[in-house]
Symmetry: C2
């Protein structure tokens, strides 16, 4: 088990060594560690190696100028200057929040960025300002549209954070696929099958093989198959892609650059880097803030009092599991798999620092 | 088969007879007929009886004052004055579009409204202004959150319309459940079972019985079960509910009023009427409009060229099936089931008009 502070300081040092500023390294470490604390370890320390390898391949800019390239009272387009995704994303969400202060809402589309960790992090930045936060991002293509066998979309997540008064906020943060990519990797490592409805083979036939992506297979959209509404998952994933890339001028769909260095740079570009989309909405642009938050309390209490199905203990509010994990992991420490520790030890050695 | 014009004029006359203005009756008929043309007959002529019965029970206001009750540069809250939903919704989307002209984006939350037909109609209003349109609404509760047996949410749809240049627009309009409520009714009328994953029984056990809602069952969220991501469908449906009702001050979740007169008025109110949420985003608040639309063309061409799975002819762009139905139904006419025709004949007789 590792303590939060140890992993935070180490992560910050890794990015400092890679040339990131004090300010940027702090942000990056914060996003990595929030992912670990909230139980999304698939977006935590395991990913440091990916960023490190991209940096070694000179495919990511650790000294970026993140700039606004276009704006209106409630909108902006941000160029991330090929920054580590967290740096471009955090600045973009700050701009969305600033816009919202004046215009009631703020909407920022960001291009020329990279993988930014967990989407929920940026949506939650709005909460302390009594705003609702929204974050979308596209990602490298693994997912086939309904009726197709071509990998055209990423797991394109949606995050929405909504403040309440006495209850913790509503925080939804989910991929627009039945499962995250990381779950397939876990099943593969354990030598297990996955349930049907997650992936298909290269011909579009149902499959329970978590390694199928390596032989031309693809992930399915939320809904799984057409009968169960996979076209709705396709719509969602497509909307996330268009908001993230067409609004910003980033690469869309199959042209989103890989977030790992072991995959080659794509031949064709239709924009700049990876795209994100951020929204901030002042709650008092709609209702007096206290009334809004009291109503959210009532909403939360109503849904928490829903009757559990047989064998279930309770009905959850989006954000409950992550918040509970946060308390647990801050108290008990964060567990890293031996393979991840080995990677970090190796990276530390190359950078002249230490990880034990 | 009925011609578009005949059904349009009849529908308009029904609402004129119910006391709606010329302006409002035209809007209402337009929304009903667009639903029929686009193949969403579950939201078309079959529903006229519901509105008529609500009016007879004095549960809907045919002479409303739809007003803005709160606003900021990019937002407004609208009170629908218990109008026929289409009237409150169309006015609200007009306000969103006006806001967007000045602020780049416009966001309107509407309370004290009623069932408004198809969400896609309002999102598509943005297209002619070179804007992206968004529409959400909550609806009377039929759907259980993950792990629950309580009906807490409606089929809460999401509609997003995005303009392109030479290609028709991208128009997604979908319930946040695997199927629409109407599909269960069709299966019931045909005496057929439905696939597992649509509904559960009163204990939360899987069911293939389309009549199960009558015996304490509930519909499931998109994803179907927890393994296949039903919690993501729950998040989506909850977000739609909160945006529609907490932003506006409408009833949320289990307190959304019934859209049919044969269900009683609920005892408890937590707001005013049904709630909707509308968004309009000027594309040139992000990119020069022509560049945005050309990029959408490229997006559409890319996804249209995705390789179809074995046995599939083509990969669809959201909006394709509806647009093709629109051409077909305008040319060949609109088919009404005998039972619907009988209802309309009866309503016509009571109102002193004619339907043949």
């Amino acid at each position: 088990m590792y303590q939060y502070n140890y992993l935070f300081d180490f992560t910050k040092n890794v990015f400092l060594k890679m040339g990131c500023s004090e300010h940027d390294s702090t942000i990056i470490a914060d996003v990595f560690l929030v992912a670990e604390l909230r139980g999304h370890s698939s977006h935590g320390m395991i990913r440091i190696k990916d960023y490190y390898e991209l940096w070694k391949s000179r495919r990511i800019n650790t000294d970026p100028q993140v700039t606004i390239v276009h704006e209106s009272p409630s909108t902006a387009v941000v160029d991330g200057d090929n920054a580590v995704g967290m740096v471009a994303a955090r600045r973009s969400m700050e701009i969305a929040i600033e816009k919202a202060k004046n215009a009631g809402t703020g909407w920022v589309a960001t291009r020329n960025s990279n993988h930014f960790g967990i989407a929920g992090y940026y949506s939650m930045m709005a909460l302390e300002h009594d705003m609702v936060g929204i974050c979308l991002t596209n990602a490298n293509p693994l997912v086939a549209p309904t009726f197709s066998i071509s990998r055209m979309m990423g797991t394109n997540p949606i995050a929405v954070a909504i403040p309440a008064m006495k209850h913790p906020p509503f925080v939804a943060d989910f991929a627009t696929t039945p499962v995250a990519r990381g779950k397939l990797a876990v099943a593969e490592k354990k030598g297990k099958k996955v349930p049907f409805g997650f992936v298909q083979d290269k011909n579009g036939e149902p499959s329970d093989d978590p390694t199928i992506l390596k032989s031309g297979g693809s992930m399915l959209t939320l809904g799984g198959d057409r009968v169960h509404g996979s076209h709705k998952g396709y719509c969602l994933s497509a909307i996330v892609d268009i908001f993230s890339a067409v609004f910003s001028g980033a690469n869309f769909g199959p042209f989103v650059p890989p977030s790992v260095a072991y995959l080659p740079v794509l031949d064709k570009k239709v924009g700049e880097g990876t795209g994100h989309f951020f929204g901030a909405m002042r709650i008092d642009a709609f209702q007096p803030a206290n009334e809004f938050k009291s109503k959210m309390d009532e909403w939360i209490e109503t849904f928490r009092s829903a009757k559990p199905a047989k064998g279930q203990e309770r009905v959850l509010i989006p954000g409950d599991p992550e918040r509970e994990a946060e308390v647990r992991n801050m108290r008990d420490g964060i567990k890293l798999l031996p393979a991840i520790k080995d990677d970090l030890v190796e990276i530390a050695k190359e950078l002249g620092i230490e990880f034990i």
